[in-house]
């Protein structure tokens, strides 16, 4: 059993990342179909769509390892669309990677482009051209959260696989295996808490387990809950509370600190505010008004140039809402 564990990695998400089709949990249908394509040694371009931490990157890696065995590193290029500066960088990297032919019996190399939905539609058009130009020697595996954000011409060139959120029993299987291997004892309630805390994201679940285990090998619910609270980005609530109390300056100060310290974007802040409105002690009518304003601001952020100005405008509305409360 230990053979399948990557001892080189001290980070559990890597140490326990599945290396064969049989090890991947959940997504049974997808695994079966992808496996049969892989076994036939001829895969089309693939598009993996689905939420974070359900096994998209893992499956891509399994495919690659299965195809190329121990020469997989030479025949595989991993790119992340949200980190590469523009489609031109992607194109250049693909170009130099695709220039050489693959060695061995598989007649193509594989390029995995993660978070492909981070590319603008224009960039995706360019990507489509690139895919066509190199299709003789390269297969692309694209991954994204929403397939609807991928332009049709790319979708039509790929076999699409929609990954579902992992079920609790799947995550349980993974965590139990790790716990056994790392000699941890887990309280039965822990699973529920980790599953909730990580919103079904397997990678986050494992990270949570490892960071908790770093404190004590006996994992109990309290410990995990504290860990979840500690690793959550600091609360947007403080910012809103200041605004509702009429203290605009402190509110915006806290907001800026929060954004800088946690490196969160304006859009993420708006999302957090929109969710937090429902936890505030204000009249339903005002909740609706604030939600309207929040939606408007989210739109304006995409239109404007400086999200922080838009957010200040939103905070000013919260100051007004706070007046109504008194």
């Amino acid at each position: 059993m230990n053979k399948e564990i990557d001892h080189d990695s001290s980070i559990w998400t890597e140490k326990y990342r599945p290396k064969e089709f049989s090890e991947v949990v959940g997504q049974n249908d997808i695994i079966k179909r992808v496996e049969s394509l892989t076994k036939a040694m001829n895969i089309p371009h693939l598009l993996f769509a689905g939420p974070a931490g359900v096994g998209k990157s893992t499956l891509a890696l399994v495919v690659v390892k299965e195809l190329f065995k121990n020469t997989w590193k030479e025949n595989y290029l991993e790119l992340n669309a949200s980190d590469e500066r523009g489609i031109n960088v992607v194109r250049e990297k693909v170009k130099s990677f695709a220039r050489t032919k693959s060695l061995g019996k598989v007649p193509f190399k594989i390029i995995f482009l993660d978070e492909a939905d981070a590319l603008t539609p224009e960039a995706q058009q360019a990507l489509r051209r690139t895919m066509e130009n190199y299709s003789s020697g390269c297969r692309f595996i694209l991954s994204c959260n929403y397939s609807s954000k991928i332009i049709d011409p790319i979708q039509s060139r790929c076999a699409i696989f929609r990954f579902k959120l992992l079920e609790k029993k799947d995550i349980e299987k993974v965590l139990q295996k790790i716990a056994k291997n790392e000699n941890l004892t887990m309280h039965p309630d822990v699973l529920e808490i980790i599953y909730e805390g990580s919103e079904g994201d397997c990678r986050r679940s494992i990270n949570l387990l490892q960071s908790t285990a770093a404190i004590s090998p006996s994992i109990n619910p309290d410990l995990v809950s504290t860990m979840i609270a500690n690793t959550k980005p600091k609360d947007i609530r403080v910012v809103l509370d200041y605004a509702l109390a009429g203290d605009f300056e402190n509110s915006r100060e806290k907001l800026l600190d929060l954004m800088l310290k946690e490196s969160i974007s304006g859009q993420d802040v708006v999302k957090a505010i929109q969710k937090e409105i429902w936890n505030l002690a204000i009249e339903p009518e005002i909740k609706v008004k604030l939600t309207e304003k929040t939606g408007e601001i989210e739109f304006r952020i995409t239109e404007g140039s400086d999200p922080f100005i838009q957010l200040q405008s939103l905070l000013a509305s919260f100051v007004l809402a706070g007046l109504g409360k008194k």
Binding site: S9, S10, I11, T13, E14, A52, S57, L61, E78, N80, S82, D83, D114, E115, R203, R204, N207, L208, Q210, S211, A213, A214, M227, N230, T231, K232, P233, G246, F248, E249, R252, L256, L260, K261, E262, S263, I264, I297, R300, E303, G304, S305, D306, F308, I309, Q310, Q312, S313, L315, A316, S317, V319, L320, L323
Partner: protein, 384 residues
């Protein structure tokens, strides 16, 4: 072309300005430097740590010490000595070998701050080498009192170099300018000397840059910044205090500032002037201004500036139902500075996130977002 800072680097002790006490201590140390065979270990300090802010003359002092004693100098940078083997390999021959022509020798280890927590036994090794050294070792650091240097402190004489007084800085600048046959206005020299806060090297660099400008340009650079600030404060007063009139539309003509910068000033000061409903209205206007700003960037359609200008001036002034006479002390925008400082701070975080991202097949952005948990994972990891 060499920089003035290099060209006029002090050569002898007497060239080093404002550090009489430190110089005296160094002379004393070198004179009484004991051979390791003469003194039993630990009785006498066998090395110096010179510490002080950047540009106070630490490296110059060490070099001067070599020159004055007719010794050769063996110079290395602490950041080259990352670990024990490396340190031993570099330093061991140097402390033993008799120098050519039987000259003396001084070992200079520069920028000890850079020896970094990552070094493995480097400091310990250095402590042992100090005991064995035939030659004086001089180390420099910005801060001698950090924890990582504590094993060294016991073995070393610690000598401080003071931040230079602005008068000395100015005096040095004047002398250099005379030699270079360049001229800088006296007021500007004072300004440079004050602004650089005792960092002579920075002051010399500034002077070299400014000396290239014509005298009118020199004056302009000095007063531009100040005038700009006075002007914008005046502008803010007009739009925040006075009733809107067609005159208001031309308010921004009197300040030579880009709209983006004006927006920052307005943004910062709205809450000092308006409350509640008016606060919300003012920010609504700012929000609309920003939308046009975004459209300008995306479409390069500069006519939209007209709307920005109107919202910012007349729009905000329209909130004033009458002229106000009270005084408000407006504040300088700090957001950009804060972002900049934060970027420096997160640079290190980012390199860690980059490594983690590659290792775990996720994007750097995501790794940054999940950094709290990554930090725990890394801390829990004794290996590496």
């Amino acid at each position: 072309m060499t920089t003035w800072a290099e060209k006029y680097r002090p050569i002898y002790f007497e060239d080093i300005r404002g550090q009489e006490e430190a110089v005296a201590k160094v002379i004393d140390f070198i004179k009484n430097f004991p051979s390791p065979r003469e003194t039993p270990s630990g009785l006498k300090k066998r090395a110096i740590i010179l510490y002080g802010s950047a540009g106070t003359g630490k490296t110059s002092l060490a070099n001067a010490a070599a020159k004055e004693t007719n010794s050769e100098i063996f110079e290395l940078n602490a950041s080259d000595l990352r670990n024990k083997p490396q340190l031993k390999e570099t330093l061991k021959p140097a402390i033993e070998q008799r120098s050519l022509l039987k000259k003396g020798k001084i070992l200079l280890i520069d920028e000890m701050d850079g020896i970094a927590g990552e070094d493995r036994g480097g400091i310990q090794e250095l402590v042992e080498l100090i005991e064995l050294s035939e030659y004086p070792i001089i180390m420099t650091a910005n801060d001698a009192w950090t924890k990582k240097l504590s094993p060294l402190r016991k073995k070393c004489e610690i000598i401080q170099l003071k931040d230079l007084d602005y008068k000395i800085v100015k005096d040095v600048l004047i002398k250099i300018l005379r030699k270079e046959k360049k001229f800088i206005d006296n007021k500007i020299l004072t300004e440079i000397a004050l602004k650089t806060k005792g960092d002579l090297r920075a002051a010399i660099n500034d002077a070299q840059t400014i000396s290239k400008l014509s005298s009118e340009e020199q004056i302009k650079t000095l007063f531009d910044e100040r005038n700009k600030e006075e002007n914008i404060l005046d502008v803010l007063k007009k739009i925040f205090k006075l009733k809107a009139s067609n005159e208001t539309l031309r308010t921004f003509d009197q300040v030579d500032m880009k709209t983006d910068e004006i927006i920052l000033w307005v943004e910062k000061n709205i809450p000092l002037e308006y409350r509640d409903k008016k606060l919300a209205k003012a920010y609504e206007l700012l929000s609309e201004t920003d939308i046009f700003n975004g459209r300008i960037y995306k479409q390069q359609y500069w006519r939209f500036l007209v709307y920005e200008n109107i919202f910012l001036s007349y729009g905000i002034a329209s909130l004033n139902k009458e002229n106000k006479t009270n005084f408000t002390k407006y504040k300088r925008p700090t957001r950009v500075l804060k972002i900049w400082m934060n970027n420096l701070k997160i640079a290190k975080k980012k390199t860690i996130a980059e490594k983690y991202a590659k290792h775990s097949h996720i994007s750097i952005k995501k790794a940054m977002k999940e950094f709290p948990i990554i930090k725990l994972l890394i801390n829990s990891n004794p290996r590496r």
